[in-house]
Each structure stands twice: as structure tokens, then as C-alpha cells.
Symmetry: C2
Subunit: 338 residues, 2 copies
């Protein structure tokens, strides 16, 4: 039996939500990964250390016996500069949401320049800036591209600030990452596999609706290539973002794709198909360790080449979520975790 | 009270479905319009005169006491040429769906060539060709544009064939209509009012998902302008296309917007807002009469300027459909029909 083992896989962009949903989805990530960057956009968003510690505790409880280190983040706000010194030890990054662009981001930054003192403090303390890089401009397909000048502005003005371009989805975005030493990117499973035609080329599948929206074939191919080559500037971040099934299958579906149950089997399958398995360790762990300067728990996740079927539905008593690649077969499945 | 009266409004592209759905939706169109072009894509599609007569009878029954003339169409297939002579008296057009075409425009043109004897017969008998002008190419936003060379090819090869470019949705498409004497277009209410951001700029609304998909602001503005100016080459065709609510609010939503309950109130509101009320009679009736050479029943539909609320849901015993502009207010409502 062919096997492939990943050491300490990391998911550098993860939504675990809260309460019942947290308890449902956390085990999928906690089993397969050694750690993950936990997004702060729960309700209310994480804006105090008290809230952060309490949320971290709930996350760890939901992970059960799995060895999984949650790297916590906070919502970037006009905090006092002294607050960053206090927070630095407890967070891996501050998350910047342009107001309103994604789930629970209504409180996000309305004007980046007004956050200059905060960005300066973060630069000095080596706290990375994690960015949902989209404007509010009309035509959602162009919002990432329209945000690039803002990223450029930040990268130039704060050359020692590490800027994390999250869930990168466009070829223009990837060019920017290559052009600036202090801009890095996370890449999701869905942006390396899907186009807008998967979302709605024939029928419309709301479970494939996310922000940034999946784009053209050439964007998808550029993102896939960046992942396969595993340049030191990019790393895996799933942006796995569950919503209850009844909310996704409604007249007003929120953005977010729940990919957690499919990730490692699909990544191994994709990297193998392209003859790039040698790069997967870098993409899904080592690059992130270097970029963030972290040392995650040692955990060996072995996959074997035998059919794994992604669940058609993930559910507990009160909550149902439809995962990415629901009911589809993968060539590889997780066989052991040590 | 301000009033506005339209003489014999016509909906030149209408899906009435069958059975319970037909009985639910037909009265909305039959009340407000003097006639409509009834699309043949029921199950099974209309491909014989027997099926056509039987469907016409069911349509008329569903229209109840409303004065409404259904102009029938059939699926274009490789019928014997003699069949067109027989069919001519019973149909207003033959409908070509891109399933009969193929992935790219070059091959599409080749496939169209296989229908040459049929198109020639239609040209000789003055039977218009109604076209869903989209290829199957990847990126659904470009499918209409990719179909334009096929339309051009048909228009050139059969200069006396009237080609109806249905539910036109792009500025490039409108340019083609202007360039060819024998290409005409229908314009929907949704393509003159919505962009892709209405579909999924914030949350995703499957009730606004249709083919061709609603596009950018500049496409929407071009379509709106063409409607407002009511050039003799364009006419109103709603493409009102109901699907059951549970099917639209699912993991696999079909394309189609049910606009029938909102049409005339919204059209009067839009044309008035742009100071173009004088053009509405042409757009919603007279242009179609000239283009198709038809003489619909005389029917005067009066609207008055008092609030009309579009239903939040249209339902009968077994079927529920969410209409376009559900629960929204219009400045105008239908006050009398004579």
C-alpha cells in the first residue's frame, strides 16, 4: 500500500465558529492538522484578550483529544499602541477585514490610513497583519484586484510588517506577492480547484459560494501552480468556513466553503497527479513555519492510497453542514496520526 | 391620480411550464399582457404539432377568463423540410437552444451548418429563428459573447431569416443587433435592472440566478439604455422562468427568474424615472408587432401611480415560487384591464 506522511500539517487560515458549530467542525481540523490560525470573526468578534482566552479554551475543548495548537488572532481595531505589547504573546496575527466584505466583518477597517499607528506598532513588535484583501467595489470578480494598491501601500509604508494576503484568488494577486518581499499568501483548496463555472456554470451550488469568489480558469490555474510549486512566499490556509445547511440553501446564502473534511486527501491527490508530492510538505507546513517563525507540535499524519469518501453531510444534534466535495471519492485517505 | 395606459402589452419570451406550475403562473402574465411567446421547453419539449396543440389548450385553460393570446413555438430539430410548411400556421418561431450547438464558436458554426436545410426552409416561409445565444464555453460570463460569431454566421448566410437574439445581456451583443438588419433582440426586466453583485455581491440569492447570467454594471446599463430608447430592433421579452422554491433554495439550483408578477409596474416605474415613458408603448408592444408582423388582441392595461407590493411568494396548493422583487414596493400598480 502506497503511503505518504506529512509532518505537522498546518492550516494557516481557519474558521472554527463557536458553540454547537465549533463542536461539530473542530474535530475535522484537529485530527488532520498539528495547528491552525483561528480567525476571530465569531459573534461578537475577538477584540479583547479576555474574549481571546475564553475562545481559545472553547476551541481546545472542541478539539477533544486531538493534538492541535490553535494560533489565535484578533480583529484589528484602533487599539491603544500599548495594547499590542500586551497582546503580542497571545496572538499570531491581527486580522484586517475591510468593513462588510465577508461574514461578520461589519466592524472592519473603513479607512486603512486611520490604522497607521496600529500598523506601526505591529511592525515594531513583529505581529503579522492578516488581510481579507477585497474592496467593496461593484463587480465582485474585481474586488481582489481593486484591493492590490492598498496592499502595496501598506507593504511599502511598513517594510518590516509581514502582510498575509489571505485566500489569494487571482493571478494579479500572485504577481503582487512575488513583487513585495514582505507580502505572503495563503492558498485554499477551493481556489486551487474551482472556477465560477463550478459554482454556477450549469446549476447553482451555494455550498461553493465564498469570498473571494472563485474565478476564471486562468486564475484557478495560477493559484494551483503557486501551490504546486510551494514557493517560500505561499502556504496552505483552508479558509474552511462552515455555515448551517439551511442557511446556505436559502434565498440569502452567506459566503463560505466548509472544506475541512476533504483537505489532506485532496491535497495529496492533487500534488501526486501533478508530480509535485515532493513540494507538499513545504506547502502545508514548512513554509508556514518559516514565514511565521513558529514551531508547531510534532505530529505525523500518514495517508494511504486507498479510496476515501468525503462525507455527504456533517452533522450533530442541531447542526448540519455540507462539505466541499461532498460524497466524492478521493484517491487517498488519512490512515494514521501519531 | 396619475395613470398610464398600455395598449396590448406583449411578452415576447415567456416560460409558462406545465401542470400545477402552469396553473399557478399563467394568470400573472395573462392578466397583464395581451399575448406572449410561449417557450417550448416543457417536459418533453414541444416537437410535434399534436404536442403543440395540446399544450396550447392547457395554456389557454390556465389563463382562465383573461384575454391572452399564446404565440406558440417549437424546439428546432432536423425536421423534414415539408414539416415547416405544415407548422408555419401554428407557430410564431422555432427555438434554437445551445445544447444543439457546442463548446466553442467554431464548432458551433459547424453544427449550425447541419441545420442549414431547416434554416433555409424557415427563411423561405418567413418563420423566425429564436435563439438562446450562449455557447457552453467555460466562464459563463463570456458565453453570450462567444456565441456572437455563430449569430453573425446565420444572419449573413440567411439574410431574410429573422433572427431573435433572446434575453440579450451584454453590450457586445447589443452592438451585433445594431450591425445586422435581420437580428432583433428581446430584453428582460432582470437584465435591465440587475448585475452580478445583486446575485451575489453580499449574500447569494438563488432567485436571481438565470442564464444568461446577469453581468456587469456596464452591460446592465447598455441593456437598460437599449430598452429605454426602444429602438425598432428591440422588444420586451421577460424570460419569466419559474422554478419551485424548494428547488431554487437547494444545493443545486436551476437557472431562471420568475418576473411575471412585477413586470408592468416595474417597467412603468423605470421608464418614468428615466423620462422615457413615451417609449414604453413601443418597447412593450408596438416594436414586437412590427418585428413579428402580428396583430394581437386589443387590450388596454391601465396603471396608476399608487404603491403596489410585489408578492413575497406566489403559491397554490402544491407549488411555491419566489418572484423577482419579492415583497418590494413599486410606485405604480395595475388598476384596470379592458
Amino acid at each position: 500500500m502506497q503511503t505518504f506522511t506529512i509532518k505537522s500539517p498546518l492550516d494557516m487560515h481557519l474558521h472554527l465558529r463557536d458553540s454547537e458549530m465549533l463542536r461539530l467542525v473542530a474535530p475535522y481540523s484537529a485530527e488532520a492538522f498539528a495547528g491552525g490560525v483561528i480567525m476571530p470573526n465569531i459573534t461578537p468578534p475577538i477584540t479583547t484578550l479576555e474574549a481571546l482566552h475564553a475562545y481559545r479554551k472553547r476551541v481546545l475543548e472542541a478539539c477533544g483529544n486531538h493534538l492541535f495548537l490553535p494560533y489565535m488572532t484578533m480583529f484589528l481595531k484602533p487599539y491603544e499602541e500599548s495594547f499590542f505589547e500586551e497582546a503580542a504573546a497571545h496572538i499570531i496575527a491581527m486580522k484586517l477585514y475591510p468593513a462588510g466584505v465577508t461574514t461578520n466583518s461589519e466592524e472592519g477597517a473603513k479607512n486603512i490610513d486611520s490604522l497607521e499607528p496600529q500598523l506601526k506598532a505591529m511592525e515594531a513588535l513583529n505581529i503579522p497583519l492578516s488581510v481579507h484583501a477585497e474592496t467593496h467595489s461593484p463587480n465582485l470578480f474585481e474586488r481582489e484586484q481593486n484591493f492590490l494598491p492598498i496592499l502595496e501601500h501598506i507593504a511599502k509604508k511598513f517594510p518590516k510588517l509581514k502582510v498575509m494576503f489571505e485566500h489569494i484568488s487571482s493571478k494579479e494577486g500572485l504577481k503582487l506577492v512575488a513583487d513585495y518581499e514582505n507580502i505572503y499568501a495563503t492558498i485554499t483548496l477551493h481556489h486551487m480547484t474551482l472556477t465560477v463555472d463550478d459554482l454556477m456554470g450549469e446549476r447553482l451550488n451555494p455550498h461553493l459560494f465564498c469570498k473571494p469568489v472563485v474565478k476564471t480558469e486562468s486564475d484557478r490555474d495560477a493559484v494551483l501552480e503557486a501551490a504546486l510549486n510551494a514557493s517560500p512566499k505561499v502556504m496552505f490556509g483552508s479558509d474552511s468556513a462552515p455555515h448551517p445547511r439551511e442557511s446556505k440553501e436559502s434565498a440569502s446564502a452567506p459566503a463560505g466553503i466548509f472544506s475541512a473534511p476533504a483537505i489532506l486527501p485532496k491535497l495529496v491527490e492533487i500534488f501526486e497527479r501533478h508530480g509535485k508530492l515532493d513540494n507538499l510538505q513545504n506547502f502545508v507546513s514548512d513554509n508556514a513555519k518559516s514565514i511565521y517563525g513558529i514551531n508547531p507540535p510534532e505530529k505525523f499524519v500518514a495517508l494511504e492510497k486507498s479510496e476515501y469518501r468525503v462525507p455527504s453531510l456533517c452533522k450533530n444534534r442541531d447542526t448540519e453542514v455540507v462539505p466541499l466535495f461532498a460524497a466524492e471519492s478521493c484517491l487517498w485517505g488519512i490512515s494514521s496520526v501519531e
